[in-house]
Symmetry: C2
Subunit: 325 residues, 2 copies
């Protein structure tokens, strides 16, 4: 990463570290501070700053909005982990494990409100548009999470439905982060929209890459255990595609593996991966990721700033695309 | 109620009926529509309209903000009922009973965001102030709910702590509803603040009256069973005061009743009520309600509009004060 990006990341770390700094009661704010402190890539606020920078505006102007987006992202992880009964996040126990369900609910609620309080700090002439953009993304994330939960109960989810779900649940906030950065920079609305689309395509590629790495990642670089999605029957792109493309006998034994509750983990992973291999899903998924990656670059090329200013956003797309974790 | 208030109430019913009208997915929005449809007094949006009307402005200008406040209020009931494990609300099963906990969490989240989308519709020149006022109340409600939950685990809650808790949890949104109505009417900020204080005092009186009616209400008019708070050891003003004012032997047997899990409901209610009687808590609580009621009228009298315009807000305070349910 170049030094300017590092400089942006340091700014973000500083402001995120200040959120809820001395707020009380601690029973409400400790779980929120904990969630924010766990870090992660801070991809979304970075994108906001990069979008503002793309149009030559001082990134400090975008820090409040970037913070709002990161708070909202972490809120959604907090509530999602509770709903999905996930015990761990980024190597640490989730809030409902470390505290309890009520702490996760109420601290999450406080985080949504705090996100809006940071949005409210943007320049007043931009407030209506930024508020609308933010809320539109926020509600779509809820819709995406609802689809995701609904899909868990179904075995007939289509590829189209899945892609729409990850668009809502993941891609929209990435698009929103970029678009808000562009709005703050005073970009033409056409350019802001192109950046949004760049983000949507990037977000889709990003999530599909996640799905792919869970099965085909290199255990030495991946960081998490390979096959986690397979073990918990997560409806990833690969599973949906496998259920669709498999012939009768493959599908029957796949569904068998989805329904057993007592199994040897390694055996289940090996078996399901074998079907994925037979169905050529590594290549098929890789091709789709490539398609979205190229589409994202295409959107970026339509933004009316000189090409050399776009270098970092192009690099970032490449890094997400060719990452191994 | 006079016909103008009825006219306001009809407007409110109409807009609330339109919230989330055809939104999808239904798994996300049905629980939210259900929560909003259960009704209740619609006190907060009515106060917003009455505040706007007080300064001679068309109440239609305040409908979006009033809707936002009612959505937020219902969101907080939805999440509180889940956290408090309450099975019923207004005579109907709560969302986590009728659906499940995840539905209650995510539909509630969608309601917060929708509340902000309605706030975003206010005239743009008023947006920053209204947004700040709304968010300040919203975060205080979370703090109040956290205190309420924290208090359940303690037996040494002071009267002061309790009053601060109900100020945050209940009174602040009533004040906020009025203040936003005043802001929309273009009232002087001094007048908006007096109305806010009128609302705070009214809200405190309102909650204390709730606490009182649970013990001393008339079973024929109260609507709910008398003694519900006593049965679930709810830390009401009366219980806190009783724990404080009781002499050693009274306190010992009161704590005994708080700790037993197997008891005859009627006997427990009779016993606790008897201690409340001995400690003169009906009169003490009534006096405190009267104090807040008079303080609310005092704040209202400071608002710089002619006295005859205030008649309805005075009547409303009286009605809340002398209500039997």
């Amino acid at each position: 990463m170049n030094s300017r990006i590092t400089f942006f990341e340091e700014k973000i770390a500083r402001v995120i570290g200040q959120v809820f700094a001395d707020d009380e009661p601690r029973t409400l704010y400790d779980p929120a501070r904990y969630t924010l402190s766990l870090g992660g890539k801070r991809l979304r606020p970075l994108l906001t700053l990069m979008a503002t920078d793309l149009f030559g505006k001082d990134v400090d102007e975008a820090l409040d909005a970037a913070t709002a987006i990161e708070i909202f992202h972490n809120f959604s992880l907090l509530h999602d982990d509770l709903m999905d009964k996930a015990d761990m996040r980024r190597g640490y126990p989730t809030v409902h494990k470390k505290w309890d369900a009520n702490s996760a609910i109420l601290s999450g609620d406080a985080m949504v409100i705090e996100a809006y309080r940071y949005i409210a700090k943007v320049p007043v002439d931009l407030l209506p548009e930024i508020l609308d953009t933010f809320s539109a993304a926020a509600i779509q994330i809820c819709q995406g999470q609802q689809h995701d939960m609904d899909f868990e109960k179904r075995t007939d989810v289509s590829e189209k439905e899945y892609l729409e779900m990850i668009r809502l649940k993941t891609a929209v906030l990435i698009g929103c982060a970029l678009k808000i950065g562009a709005i703050i920079a005073g970009a033409f609305s056409r350019d802001a929209q192109y950046l949004y689309e760049y983000g949507i395509n990037l977000g889709l590629a990003f999530q599909l890459k996640d799905d792919l790495l869970d099965v085909y990642g290199d255990p030495r670089t991946f960081g998490k255990k390979i096959g986690g999605d397979i073990l918990c029957n997560k409806k990833t792109f690969l599973l949906i595609k496998a259920l669709k493309n498999s012939e009768k006998s493959q599908r029957a034994s796949l569904e068998q593996w989805l329904s057993v509750s007592d199994f040897d983990p390694e055996e289940k992973i090996r078996f399901v991966k074998n079907i994925y291999d037979e169905l050529n899903l590594k290549l098929i998924t890789g091709n789709l990721i490539e398609k979205y990656y190229l589409a994202s670059l295409d959107c970026l090329s339509s933004v009316s700033v000189s090409e050399d200013r776009k270098k970092e956003l192009i690099e970032l797309a490449e890094n997400l695309m060719y990452r191994e974790k």
